[in-house]
């Protein structure tokens, strides 16, 4: 099987999925009784109607969390290759990684002390 032939399975699944949805929609239209009222046509029949525009502003503090997350998340990328080679790297590798993580922790401590993680 070459590279593209393995995509045939994906294609079959997509076709099957589309067919299934189509059949269900047609069946529903054919079988269900249609009896609309104002209540039934509202956006959320059993919820609160939305107020204001969909483009609401996010509280700026949220960005700080996001930024911190991105940084700490991506640093984990260095830990994966180290973990695979842990045994052959030995003690030196362990200390090296502890220094690396120590610096990251320092950054986190810094962020906490500066009040970045406080939501007020």
């Amino acid at each position: 099987m070459t590279y593209f032939e393995s995509y045939l399975t994906v294609g079959a699944f997509i076709a099957l999925g589309a067919l299934l949805v189509g059949v269900v929609l047609v069946l529903a239209r054919a079988l269900a009784p249609s009896n609309p009222s104002a209540e039934k046509l509202s956006t959320y029949e059993c919820g609160v109607d939305p107020v204001g525009s969909g483009w609401s502003q996010t509280y700026v503090r949220y960005y700080l969390y996001g930024l911190l997350f991105v940084i700490f998340d991506i640093e984990a990328v260095f830990i994966f290759p180290w973990a695979i080679q842990l045994e052959s790297l030995g003690m030196f590798g362990l200390i090296e990684m502890l220094v690396f993580i120590g610096i990251l922790v320092l950054g986190l401590v810094y962020a906490i002390r500066k009040g970045v993680l406080r939501w007020e």
């Binding site: 080679q85 052959s88 790297l89 030995g90 030196f92 610096i103 320092l106 401590v109 810094y110 002390r113 500066k114």
Partner: protein, 495 residues
Amino acid sequence: MTFEIDYLALAPELVVAGTIIAALLLDLFLTRSKKYWVAVLSVVGVAGGLVPIVYMLAEGGTRSMFDGSYVVDEFALILKIVFLVSGYLVLLMSVSYIEADRYYQGEYYFLLLSSILGSLVMSSSRDLIVLFIGLELTTGPLFLLAGWRKGDAKSNEASLKFFILGVLSTAILLYGMSLLFGLTGSVEFTAIAAAIPDLVSEPALALSVLFLIVGFAFKASAVPFHFWAPDTYEGAPTPVAAYLSVNSKAAGFVAMLIVMYTALPGISEVWAPALWVLAALSMTVGNLSALRQGNIVRLLAYSSIAQAGFMLVPFAAAAVAGSDLAQAFSATVVYLVIYALMNLGAFAVVIAGARRTGSGDIDDWAGLGQKDPVLGLLTALFFLSLAGIPPLAGWYAKFVMFASVIEAGGISTLVLAAIAAVNSVIAFYYYARVIKAVWLDTPSEELLARPGREYAGSIKLTLAISMGLTIAIGIYPTFATYFGEASRVIATGGG
């Protein structure tokens, strides 16, 4: 698997890295009124980084680590001295400037030190990854430093422009690197240089070299990739502008030269003409634009663009003529050392002058020499040195540049020399304009009425150091020649 780590070779970086962490911790636990201790620590740490370098220079020899990816030879040591000394001077001139703002002091020194660390790493790098890390560590913190005055719209804009163009240049540079890696199969410079001869006919190779040049030229703010520089210099705090014009520019510049010299000498017919054009354009456009500037920081920004052009001249000329690149390399390093000193001095004068006159416009500086003769003399000293008037250091930089061009020979290099000569004359005109304003124009009532304030000790020290070295090198150029000669050792370094 074993790791041979030469801790002495890494000592300068380790000292600076330790200082960074200590500065971060100190900033956390100091009350606002005691923040100047962070500044003291930073200044001491950067000076401490010089100690192992001097020791290694005295000892001599080349130290190589990580399969030749990280090399500490005399060239690297010389550059580290340049970066540390200029970083030291910028830190000194920052102290009173940043203290006047009264906020975010700790972070300022943290970011500046990180940038210095980046340039130290960069000067030892002999492979693409280390070079890239070093260069990004140099410029990354500067995006934030350029926008230091958070509430100020100008500072914001300076930072945003610098950031977008800086990241764009990074992407272009990286794409060039990835193509180079794909073609040569290695990230290490000596291996790349060995693989080049078989690939000369490959069009993608020329493309990757051009991408690299564009990326470096952005960082070094060479024309036509200079658009961000004047705006960023004006909007950034003045010490940061000084740092941008010296360390950050030098970092981009040196990275370009290292790559061209150690990795790509086999394909100089592609990059030599490009450097020639960059040099000619930078000199001409930088100088002509500087003529029209009324703000002194913008004037220095354009002047530093033009100076980068002068710096490129020896290397571009030697590459175009196909003559000895090592000779050109040492000429460029001599120019770089002298430029760093006099340009930092000029920026320190701008900081002091802006405090005295309350303005950055050259017209408002009229008669400053009568109000404050010492500052007036220093203005004359640094600007005359930038113009290349003997017996100040600047003349020797220009002399070395022209000497190396004449040595290279050939028609196209002579044309470049002619362009450089014409530009030296233009440059003299606008440097002299500042001196004329300071000494010959009549001072305004307002300036005479301003109360004479004492300058901070740190800015006096900055001015004294850069003045002393500018005069000393001018009278006794052997000092600078030593730097140039020692920097040739890169030819044998690289593992």
